[in-house]
């Protein structure tokens, strides 16, 4: 039993936090959000320079070969600063698919440029009506000529418009909800027949709806074995969920710190409102939620790399239940304790509220994971 961070972990986390403290104020973030693309080239380059884009990837491609706990520290810092750049999608989700499922040649083509900040990925998977069911894939891929032709629609593809390459799930056999028959394809952003419509999300990220209309890709675009992508997708989803828990922990930490500061300084009836027991006890419960969520985020990140899949699923679902509950609890209370100010765009806490709101139901809300735990 040891909760110590290694020297390297500490250094990485410290330098990232220092950078974000200097360069990623809420004002800077607001400008980025309002920009046409909704993310900052400068910030992304800085991430590449710091090396955080390569944390979990093999050293032969320029990465650090780190484990999920290493990435967890990055995610906590990003959550605290409320970073809108597509780190989680690239490193935690689509990057994981490539690192775990792609051929050596594909990895060589993609990972170095991803780590250097020159190429961005997104994962086009969710479809209308699929909800959180990972095996619900209606998009079809038909063999033809020397490759495949893709036909279908994808919804809420996070950072889809920012991506140079989309990892697209499509069915090479079976019906819409069969576990078998799902394949993954690497699709260029400018492929003929691909339409990507960008929109802003409530938490100020970008997402896209994607139409694939007779998109042809070569045989080499197939990522992993044909028709057997589901375990790969499940692994990446669990990995990304564990990291999302860590992002939530960082955001919750900020929400608690800023709320505590607010109730110490805000005076009513001639005293700080933090002197009122009704508020003190609510603040304490927020702190307890944070500590419990943090413990479960640790569990998820420790188990996601190494545990057998049943144990991994159990830990991830348990963690997401606790974290989703804590997201809702802390974000709602943070706004309430800030009073009217918590309702305004002006304070960062209202932005943190929105991010926590979406994290609570991203990659499975608490109800979904309660169900998944019951089945395991």
């Amino acid at each position: 039993m040891n909760f110590d961070l290694s020297e390297e972990q500490q250094l990485l986390a410290d330098s990232l936090k220092r950078y974000l403290a200097n360069e990623y104020s809420i004002d800077a973030r607001t400008k980025i959000v309002a920009s046409p693309t909704g993310w900052s080239e400068t910030v992304w380059s800085a991430f590449a320079e710091m090396g955080i884009l390569g944390v979990p990837f093999p050293e032969e491609h320029g990465g650090f070969g780190g484990n999920a706990v290493d990435v967890m520290l990055v995610m906590e810092a990003l959550g605290e600063a409320l970073v809108v750049e597509p780190y989680w999608v690239n490193v935690g989700l689509a990057g994981r698919l490539v690192a775990r499922g792609a051929s050596a040649e594909q990895q060589k083509a993609i990972l170095p440029s991803l780590i250097q900040g020159k190429r961005k990925l997104a994962f086009a998977h969710t479809e209308r009506g699929a909800r959180y069911d990972l095996q619900h894939v209606g998009t079809r891929a038909k063999r033809g000529g020397s490759g495949f032709t893709l036909e279908g629609e994808k919804r809420a593809v996070l950072h889809g418009a920012a991506a140079d390459t989309l990892v697209v799930s499509a069915r090479t056999s079976g019906s819409d909800t069969d576990p078998g028959g799902i394949s993954l394809f690497l699709v260029d952003r400018d492929a003929a027949g691909l339409t990507v419509k960008d929109y802003r999300t409530i938490d100020e990220l970008r997402a896209a709806d994607v139409w694939l209309s007779g998109v042809t890709v070569p045989a080499e675009a197939l990522l992993g074995a044909e028709g057997r992508a589901l375990p790969l997708i499940e692994d990446a989803a669990d990995y990304a969920t564990a990291l999302l828990c860590a992002e939530a922990v960082g955001a919750i930490r900020f929400a608690n710190e800023t709320t505590l500061e607010y109730i110490k300084n805000r005076r009513q009836f001639g005293v700080p409102i933090g002197s009122f027991q009704a508020l003190q006890h609510r603040m304490v419960d927020m702190v307890i939620s944070y500590e419990q969520a943090r413990s479960m985020s640790y569990l998820a990140c420790v188990k996601v790399d190494s545990a057998p899949s049943a144990e991994r699923r159990h830990a991830i679902s348990a963690a997401k239940i606790k974290v989703s509950d804590a997201c809702r609890h802390v974000s709602q209370e943070a706004v309430q304790l800030h009073g009217g100010m918590g309702m305004t765009e002006e304070l960062k806490v209202s932005h943190t509220f929105r991010r926590l709101t979406t994290i609570a139901q991203a990659h499975g809300d608490a109800d979904y994971h309660l169900g998944r735990l019951a089945e395991s």
């Binding site: 909760f3 110490k264 006890h281 603040m283 307890i288 413990s295 479960m296 348990a318 309660l370």
Partner: protein
Amino acid sequence: MDLNYSTEELAFRDEVRSWLHDNLPADLRQKMESYQELSKDDLLGWHKILAKKGWIAPDWPEEWGGTNWNVVQKYIFEEECGYAATPPLIPFGLRMCAPVLLQFGTEAQKKRFLPRIYDGTDFWCQGYSEPGSGSDLASLKTRATREDGHYVVTGQKIWTTLAHYADWIFCLVRTDPNTGKRQDGISFLLIDMKTPGITVRPIVLLDGSQEVNEVFFDEVKVPVENLVHQEGKGWTVAKYLLGYERMGTGRIGASKRELARLKELAGEHMKDGRPIIEDARFRDRLTRVEVELMALEITNLRFLDQMRRTGKPPGADVSMLKIKGTEIQQSLTELMMQAVGPLAQAFKPMDAMDFDHFTARLAPRYCNMRKATIYAGSNEIQRNIIAKATLGL
């Protein structure tokens, strides 16, 4: 980062586990697992087995019988006891009076009392709360006036756990009623329960159990050598004890055992032809408690690790373990009672009959465990402590 115990810690856990397996008498375990009330003999019986093994007072200095275990070993030991369903160790002598004597007592007091606490000769109880002084302890009124080498004590204590078994009581009493601060003028006295003028009256609780009492003092003569620390400095002693809370206060081991039992029960009792555990509404409630318990175990280990690394005694963190730990304990008793549905109404047979005694313990236990969020500093007081000590509010 590693959430698992080290090889040495695992070896220690296995040693404790197998010793408990071999030495916990079957009748005691059975009583514990079926939630029966324990007699004084049951409690002392287990105390003496542990004392003989040398494991009764891990926290004490080695010269007085301590085990010299580190914080993690102490925690493992407590969790294993909970998991094995050992009878509780009554803390008033071992974990309250003894640490006070070790810190503030004279050599004569230590020599006189500690060995008898260790081997179970003296059964202690705690005289803190009074009818008008619960969470607001400093408002206590029991008076002690000094006359010819004695204190003469008059007043009343309440909620005194197991006073009807006790040989001795340690009390906070007011020796000086005229101080500016209420915390001043309080003294810490050790009182022999056989002294004339002491009356113990049981308080029957909502589950029909008798574990707490009122204790009346009518001009009870206590020799001055039974004063601990200085006269008027009892509040210092009381505060020291508050800081002496243990890291095992979350009672993870016992709750894990209860959770496993709850799952068994919910697998046996049916709803619409299926076990109630497969009912989504019931299952979700159970899972949320299970998740809180998983989280609390890791939180507890994090605090332990922090304590081991910094050497700092647990502060307000312990308050969080108490709040969450007791909430989980209460939820488990509630779900167990709910798992058996309408059968939970059963309480006591009026005549000889074939009666399901186990099921009939579930509702009383639910009733009884409402105490957990009230005793040892109510959960609201614990929130006050965190607000003040950790958050600076």
